[in-house]
Amino acid sequence: MRLLTHNMLSSNIKGVTNGFPLLIEVEKVIEKPVDFNPDFLKNMFVKVDWKALVDASRSLGYAELPEETPESSVIDSDDFLRKFHHALLELHLEEGALVCPETERKFPVSKGIPNMLLHEDEV
């Protein structure tokens, strides 16, 4: 699971109002190279929740992203885009769990696939 996906996932348990971002429990992180595409990154820059991405990338052991939401002019910086690219697309949570910030309910991630299926009493 890429951090792009993590950035798009919220806890879907009935009654949870603050289900984003999900916390990450890491068992195994892998890195897979992805073709660098500045257009895609510029497109996604305005759509990602920056703090969630920074925190998630730190959970996965990558601390190169600036903590503060960067100015939009930063997307013209190649150095910045490379780091953003790496955090968003190349880091994968392979094994571990996503944790609902409100209920601490764990959603397991196995072979890179998060299981967001709910029990009957959570729907």
Partner: protein
């Protein structure tokens, strides 16, 4: 095995011999082939459309999302693919199918788009759905395993009717939805329902087999249609008839290679 003519075409879509399988996962069948054929028929438009995020709801074996990733391929760089299935075996099989073809999609084991609806709202440029459309007794809907791939309840509409509002929520302003329907699902009524949400529609592929008649319908937001307004409903009193006429006039009869359908086992 896959009777698709030239190598040029077959290299653009998933190869049946590389599609993984599991006893609890629906294998690529006529409906899957029809959906991929619809995407191929519309490929030039998809290339021009230059989607950023593409999504499949109910990816099953992974045949469709893999084919979409292959056919857009390097010509539309930087596309991200997301696929969901409620069946844990299906996302696993999809993972293997994608890997065997050297393409990637983010996979999520979830019910339709549960967990994604909030943050992914308005971001999907292309959505493909081969829903569980088979009319079944209501109690079969929502069962685990392979039944989730077909059990559609009354008129096969139970899950389709759940998916449509979610698709509307997730699709971007320029979003396109490709969906498989059966005649029993009442596709013209589905189109009307989507029209009320502001979507135009067109049948991309129609295909009849001995057992079923399939339509692959493409939906896109038409800003000339005022969604959900009473005036719209008044103005468009004749809408049902018109939509149906439009649909029927737009059916694209692709030349079918029925012999190619023997590869579903």
């Amino acid at each position: 095995m896959h009777n698709r003519g030239s190598n040029k075409i077959s290299s653009r879509i998933a190869q049946i011999r590389l599609v993984s399988s599991h006893p609890e996962v629906y294998e690529p069948c006529d409906d899957s082939f029809a959906l991929v054929d619809a995407l191929l028929a519309d490929r030039n438009n998809l290339l021009e459309h230059r989607p950023t995020l593409c999504m499949e709801v109910g990816c099953g074996s992974g045949y469709v999302i893999t084919s979409l990733a292959l056919m857009l391929g390097e010509e539309v760089p930087g596309v991200q693919y997301i696929a969901t299935d409620t069946n844990p075996h299906a996302v696993e099989v999809t993972r293997e199918t994608l890997k065997a073809h050297g393409v990637h999609a983010e996979l999520i084991n979830t019910d339709i788009a549960s967990g994604l609806e909030k943050r992914l709202a308005g971001l999907i440029d292309v959505m493909v759905v081969n829903p569980p459309y088979v009319p079944t007794p209501e109690e079969e809907v929502g069962r685990e395993g392979i039944a989730s791939a077909w059990a559609g309840g009354e008129n096969g509409r139970r899950i389709i009717d759940k998916i449509l509002p979610i698709a509307d929520k997730l699709l971007s302003d320029r979003g396109w939805l490709y969906m498989v329907t059966l005649t029993t699902n009442n596709p013209s009524q589905i189109c009307l329902q989507m029209r009320e949400k502001g979507y135009a529609s067109r049948i991309i592929v129609q295909r009849s087999t001995e057992e079923e008649s399939l339509h692959i319908i493409k939906f896109w937001r038409d800003f000339g249609i005022k969604p959900d307004t009473k005036e719209n409903m008044t103005v468009n009193k004749t809408a049902p008839a018109r939509v149906l006429d439009t649909l029927l006039s737009q059916v694209h009869w692709l030349s079918l290679k029925k012999s190619g359908n023997s590869n579903s086992s």
